[in-house]
Symmetry: C2
Subunit: 250 residues, 2 copies
DNA sequence: AAAATTATTGACGATTCGTCATTCTAGAAC
DNA sequence: GTTCTAGAATGACGAATCGTCAATAATTTT
């Protein structure tokens, strides 16, 4: 047998495949926002796509795996938004605010993707997703958390924040994350929220963040600074800022 | 046509039906914790139960409706735990802590039920559940939130807490709820949590609560009181306390 | 006890998932 | 340019699951 170089990496095939995968994902999103989650069927996806069912199953090992893939997409979008949010000037506590805002904006402007994120966190979906894709998702989540940790570390370094006794950076990042996740999940798009229906998401969310950061004694405190103004300013900044294209060096 | 009394309310049939429904729900739980969410099938539930498929569909209009029913069960259990937690003596801030602890304990000791709660919050499930059961769930959630609100109102009345300017009771309850929900969801049973794997749930959760309540200036502050001790004390209290039976007047 | 109303059954149709033998394609070897 | 081959694509098919409904049984009413 001739020493075949194994051909391991398919040269340009890979690109086409990734491209098509993205195409399938956006198509799935369209179906979701048009017909709801009950309307997303593999057969339907097949019918509306340009490829056959077999090919689709060549991308996603199950319908649930498709959901996990959508959640990965979701996280990537979120990562982009985080990057943009961090470019808004402001002191460290304002930057935390910017991240929370970006998260919130994402959940509001991309309800479908956000709901995919929630769905993909469900045991029924996890059980039937491919391990590799689950790992990918976890890696992306880690990137997001790392951003938060860096922000906290930076605040400590510059002196606007002191690490509480016996606590880790991780713990602080977790608390922030939990707060943001919980708030956005409860304010979730669908369902007119009988529970907290009369609450205004924006200011309630800001309240939670302020309480948390005040509790941490993260300077300047909410009594020393108008974070409502900061929130407003950042909202317009995030909305208007020309999103820098993907692979752009600068 | 003879004036039929409509027979509206079936006298004792209802009891039997409710009893059987509970039986089906616990059976479904057993299947879930034994074979995972992928293993729960209507046919399988039928096979293991003493009734036929038709009868089961006479209780739950779809498989998703069954999940919503499980989440209702979950909330009822949680309500019980809240009641018990409130009986533990302590000042108002300790009582808030007790509620958080009860929530956390529930998510840890009844992982399956908690996961049902998460699953039932998913659009795919909501879309296919019966409106009446969704309403029931919402009502129970409302009860839980009301308990939180009362606690806050009481603290304000007795002077250990002041309502922040321009904020409502609802908003404060929401923030607490979001924090608790987020933390427990992220520390969810399944999946060894690569993100926050090395974190110790207990103390991290306590940290979050303390930050929030300190931010609210809810007395006594965490620097003036050993809430870690309170947490420990309540944990044993919750674990050991003889659970008062359901319909017991006292 | 007969009639009438309500509940139960489980076989069946319909839907959806996921597979696999076959067909096709793109590039390597000659 | 032709042949060869590894891998990709296809879509008909089998399997699994959902949910229904005509027939039957149980219970209440008269």
């Amino acid at each position: 047998m001739p020493a075949k170089p194994a051909s391991e990496a398919t040269p340009k095939r890979l690109l086409a495949k990734q491209l098509r995968e993205q195409e399938l994902l956006t198509l799935a999103q369209h179906i979701l926002q048009q017909d709801g989650f009950a309307g997303l069927t593999m057969d339907r996806l097949t019918a509306l796509s340009s490829v056959s069912k077999g090919t689709i199953y060549n991308h996603f090992c199950s319908k649930e795996d498709l959901f996990t893939a959508l959640s990965v997409d979701s996280l990537q979008r979120q990562l982009q938004l985080f990057a943009r949010a961090l470019q808004i000037p402001g002191h460290s506590r304002e930057q935390v605010l910017a991240l929370h805002l970006a998260y919130h904006q994402f959940s509001m402007t991309e309800p479908t993707l956000f709901l995919c994120l929630l769905t993909a966190n469900t045991p029924g979906v996890i059980e039937k997703s491919s391990p590799s894709r689950l790992a990918l998702r976890q890696q992306l989540e880690m990137q997001l958390v790392t951003i938060c940790q860096q922000l906290i570390a930076q605040a400590i370094a510059e002196g606007s924040l002191q690490l509480p006794a016996k606590q880790s950076l991780d713990a602080l990042a977790f608390v922030q994350w939990a707060q943001a996740f919980g708030s956005n999940a409860l304010f979730k798009p669908t369902q007119q929220l009988g529970l907290f229906g009369q609450l205004e998401p924006q200011s309630t969310m800001l309240l939670g963040i302020n309480l948390l950061l005040d509790g941490l004694n993260w300077k300047p405190l909410s009594k020393e600074w108008d974070y409502h103004a900061s929130w407003q300013r950042m909202m317009t900044a995030l909305a208007s800022e020309p999103l820098l294209a993907d692979g752009q060096t600068n």
